[in-house]
Symmetry: C2
Subunit: 208 residues, 2 copies
């Protein structure tokens, strides 16, 4: 069974990579040093990619030697800013990680799935992220959910699962200060995805 984890150097991606039961594992991330270290630790294959570039994502899929049984898109960025102080750099960072990278992953990744293969995308619960400063995070995660709805229509028969955790204890919160009270661990989210992969597949996976 072959698996690709995108955003593997992040909190949820890293927990998934460490907890993943498969043997053929490809890991993608932007930070070469951390990616290579993680891949060496797990005897996985690193595939460096900056999700802001379609060409990088195309190249990433070109680096696979097997059809994928599972793909997990775990890249994400928040960079909260009030709208009256929004900057193109932070806006671009959030949208590339949360949305555009997922779009190009669908473009090239659907064709790279094995028969019965599955994709997981980490979303966000709208009721938790519609908050001051989080306009780009909330809008990009909402856009991701809508993107998957249309992708399911176009790629009928493929199981594309939107994972909806509550707040998760990850380094992403260092952009904000610290994780909110009641945040669950990245390992709990990873465990829920591993468990779901053994089941029949569903469009939405709500993690408690």
């Amino acid at each position: 069974m072959a698996t690709l984890i995108i955003g593997a150097t992040g909190g949820i991606g890293g927990a998934l990579a460490r907890g993943w039961p498969e043997e053929a594992l490809w890991l993608s991330g932007r930070d070469t040093e951390r990616l290579d270290a993680l891949a060496a630790e797990l005897k996985a294959t690193p595939l460096r990619a900056d999700l802001g570039y379609e060409s990088h994502i195309k190249g990433m899929f070109g680096g696979l030697s097997l059809p994928l049984d599972t793909l997990v898109y775990a890249a994400g960025s928040a960079y909260p800013e009030p709208l009256n102080a929004a900057t193109p750099e932070a806006v671009r960072s959030v949208w590339n990680a949360n949305y555009f990278g997922a779009l190009w992953t669908l473009k090239y990744g659907l064709a790279a799935l094995a028969e019965g293969g599955r994709m997981y995308f980490i979303g966000a619960r709208p009721e938790l992220v519609t908050a001051r400063g989080f306009s780009q995070y909330a809008a990009s995660k909402g856009a991701l959910a809508k993107l998957l709805e249309v992708a399911r229509i176009e790629a009928r028969g493929k199981v594309l699962t939107l994972v909806l955790p509550p707040a998760v204890e990850t380094p992403l919160w260092t952009q904000v200060g610290r994780a909110p009270k009641g945040a669950i661990s990245a390992e709990a989210v990873a465990g829920a995805i591993v468990a779901d992969r053994r089941g029949a597949g569903q469009p939405e996976l709500r993690v408690a």
Copy 2:
């Protein structure tokens, strides 16, 4: 009363510009020739801007000589493509018109509103646009709705109205073929906005 219509050379924007009852009217669009002709016809002031650039939108607001009583964001783009053939050019065009231009308009436009001023943004009904080929249109209009939700939290007291028409007979459909059956006229949408502007203001304006 001062009004700015963004996307004035489009179908809904043009109908609005022609039907708008105010005297001080600024019109923004990307196509200089059409914008200048429309502004001359209506004795309005043209403010050329490409909505893909924050700097253009900042400059557009710098060109106003009065606080705005009404701003209408009527720019929009569809360019339908299946996900497996999505191109960065079409994706960028849709997102700049439907979402990022609106983001920079909020950044600079909220401060340019007069006391009691209002903003209108043309959205789309999710149930009508969640369709094969329309992933970027559906996702960007969904993101716009979410953006306005957070903007209302951050700019408490400002009335930001999301206009939800059914399909509208506009040149946007030339990107697709032709407008769907039952599409209403751009003038009907413009008339609904003009009528709503006289009322107390609401977060959502559903046009029949």
